[in-house]
Symmetry: C2
Subunit: 244 residues, 2 copies
DNA sequence: TCAAAGCAAGTGTGATCACAAATCATAATC
DNA sequence: GATTATGATTTGTGATCACACTTGCTTTGA
């Protein structure tokens, strides 16, 4: 009876090997659409068709329709009464609504994270900050995609530290919903001669490294409010112009 | 050219007729599963199969699998690495996590609602309260299903008044996630000689009718915390018993 | 000339089939 | 007699098809 020995051997093997996992086509479609949505690759009010996306992603309609259904339930997309689906349009009310929810939930998440982030996590977000600075140093080529990605990594590295399996998916849903709006804001920033976004992130980092939950929350609120208030004023200006 | 007359006639018809709308099988399956989940008809850790549900609901597998996918993305169900799906098990961490999120978000929603509920809405929730009392009056037959439904109506009538299209779906997701737990708690209440649940609701109503947002929030927190803390202590007792 | 009817292409939804992976029960082996 | 191997059944996944509804365009009739 060498059961114990075999068991131990198996454990040794398990320690060496990473679980391979399986990724369905539907999962890939879903992640791809998510990425596009958060990155703002789709415009607000744009309608999406199952077959069109299936062609673009080179699969059949089946994985696409299931991914679309999932995105609709998280309000990342909108099902019209005609049964067609579109990315939700931007309205003033929706903008305010989203910002309020984000302040509430992401604020809570960062306050929780402030007490739980160790030097390891702090180092990680500092690395992301450094990458950001590096990118800005050679500013001749402004890479909006990379900017969005880094911003996302920075925030979610923090949120992951909050230790709440319930809050994080909600934050993801909020990002999904505000993604299309934010992209518009970022472009507007670019052409309006943007101020230094990184300074907000630096303030967050210093607050977190001193475990100052209150300061972290306030810095975060300032950070995420900026594009919303910017977009808000721009929207109001457009509305006023349309009325004339 | 009788265009104006025709137009007017069409408007008259439209005023009489209600839009019929269309409901897909998938939608019905989804609502049905939602109802079952919130009502706690499924036990925590129970695994669900597509074909099994399709048979139970007398449809094909197609609408069921899409509905399951949607429920998985809102964390109402859990996809195991084996690709089977189950209703998430109860753990202490998850319980605390859910309660914290519910206090945060539902608290905010009721605070917003406090400023926005008119006499009309107040009357509606008072009606629900009256129904509750009436049900308790003939207490020989305790109808847990009806209790759950009334509780849900009471809370969501309030949340609907908060005027946030972003917060409400999040609250629904939270109810979906805590539904299976709550049912366990309600059964436990029943057999432990429950205290009057309605008193918490009465306090909420009085706070709302005086537009006292702070009091409303506190009463709500007390209301939703009760089953969680109860279940929490019960779970800890079980864990201690299992360890011996 | 213009509006309304009719036709055609496109789209979502549900059913069915094929296939691969997982699970379970039975049999074979040490 | 316990453990491993093998086979059958079940299950999820993706593809394809049929049907109904929508949409946009063309044609027809006044």
């Amino acid at each position: 009876m060498q059961k114990a020995a075999i068991e131990k051997n198996n454990e040794a093997i398990a320690a060496q090997l990473a679980p391979v996992g399986r990724e369905t086509v539907q999962d890939r479609v879903y992640s791809e659409l998510r990425r596009a949505l958060i990155g703002g690759l789709f415009e607000p009010s744009q309608v999406l068709t199952i077959r069109g996306l299936a062609d673009a992603l080179v699969t059949s309609t089946m994985p696409v329709r299931e991914a679309l259904g999932r995105l609709i339930t998280e309000k990342a997309l909108e099902a019209l009464p005609n049964r067609s689906v579109r990315v939700p349009p931007i309205t003033l009310e929706r903008l305010d609504d989203l910002l309020r929810a984000r302040i509430l939930i992401e604020g809570e998440a960062i306050a929780l994270a402030a007490a739980r982030m160790g030097p390891r996590q702090i180092a990680t977000i500092e690395t992301i900050l450094a990458e950001w600075d590096e990118m800005r140093a050679l500013k001749h080529k402004k890479d909006v995609d990379r900017e969005v990605t880094l911003n996302q990594s920075f925030h979610f590295e923090i949120y992951r530290s909050c230790g709440s399996a319930v809050l994080i998916p909600m934050i993801e849903s909020l990002w999904l919903q505000s993604g299309p709006c934010i992209r518009v804001a970022i472009y507007a920033f670019s052409e309006a001669g943007e101020v230094d976004t990184a300074q907000y992130h630096r303030r967050i980092v210093t607050a977190l490294s001193t475990q100052d939950a209150q300061a972290a929350r306030e810095s975060l609120v300032a950070d995420i409010s900026r594009p919303f208030t910017f977009l808000r004023s721009k929207l109001q200006a457009n509305a006023a112009k349309d009325q004339t």
